[in-house]
Symmetry: C2
Subunit: 178 residues, 2 copies
DNA sequence: AAAACCATGTAACTAGTTACATGATTAA
DNA sequence: TTAATCATGTAACTAGTTACATGGTTTT
């Protein structure tokens, strides 16, 4: 399970509250692993019990208590163990491909493909802006940047493939629709 | 949830036992939606209760009873409803990308990328063989073949993107390793 | 004779989603 | 003064995984 590991990766970069993590999971690390705040709080509690993270609670008058989590030595060890373990391939589950496979409603499929294309394009734009901003010269990356850069490249390649797929679908279905 | 719909798509093509479906989920429809036999039997029971499929049980002396499921009118209606509903984008969850993002062990990452590349290549070979066999002339597809062909094309494009990603990773990490 | 395949499940567990809930602080 | 943001959760539910279980039939 990688939610724990995604959290560890993020906390290694910078300690954070559950709330901070939830926001990071809306971008950066969240490009590769989705998680809701409910899940994050639940998982942080378990990780603290396991000793992978340590929470420091700050009482603030008026405002809600705030717990900032930091990665522990055991957490770092776990990340190293994870890092050395081959990752299983993610099981593929695509509503859209299932729908295409059983194609019944061409017009709906066209609308769907158009919406997906726009979504892919929007993400691609985000990723490319990130790449340009943080890694302007990929041939001269610092050691710390290589991993994040390559992860981002994966996102870019996947979005591009998604766009190419939508274009093929639209090409085929639009033509046969007329 | 698309497991029900993947089952309906498959049963619409041909009625089947749970066992048959489980095997189909190792190939064809399973290229786009993974499911274990346990999940399939459980889901078929619920779908029968919902009236989307109908099971006919055959008692065979000596051998285990066998229930063959067929899609019902209600099941077809549900498939049409599904077909007309925009599909949400699948939430992205990649162990491998998380690992890359927090890159700690370059050698392990290289090994991982090599294994993934081989896996992508193997699937790509399978998909391309399927495409060649069943849809030798994509410019002249029958109406029934358009959906399955386009779904397969999605698989092909995704695997190609996966291979390209692995190659970039290996290019970067191999170079910096030496 | 052993292995693979046919055929169907139960049980316990882990992961993820959806809905609901609370209450302060800061920016428009 | 209204909306957005900060901050944290509980509860109920749905989906998926892992381990275990049974027993006949066909192929090597």
């Amino acid at each position: 399970m990688a939610l724990e590991h995604a959290i560890l990766v993020s906390l290694r970069e910078q300690s954070a509250t559950g709330y901070d993590l939830a926001r990071r999971f809306d971008a950066s690390i969240g490009y590769f692993w989705r998680a809701s705040h409910q899940q994050i709080y639940r998982t942080l509690t378990r990780m603290a019990a396991d000793g992978w993270v340590e929470g420091a609670t700050e009482h603030r008058d008026g405002a809600t208590d705030r717990t900032t989590y930091a990665i522990t030595t055991a957490g770092r060890a776990e990340l190293e163990r994870f890092s050395a373990t081959p990752s299983p391939r993610e099981p593929l589950r695509s509503d859209f491909a299932v729908k295409l496979r059983g194609l019944l409603d061409t017009e709906a499929a066209i609308a769907d493909a158009q919406a997906r294309r726009a979504d892919h394009q929007a993400r691609l734009d985000t990723y490319e802006a990130s790449a340009k901003r943080y890694y302007p010269d990929p041939s001269a990356l610092s050691e710390d940047d290589r991993g994040p850069y390559l992860a981002l490249r994966g996102g870019i390649l996947l979005e591009q493939a998604g766009i190419a797929w939508c274009d093929e679908i639209l090409g085929q279905l639009d033509r046969s629709e007329r």
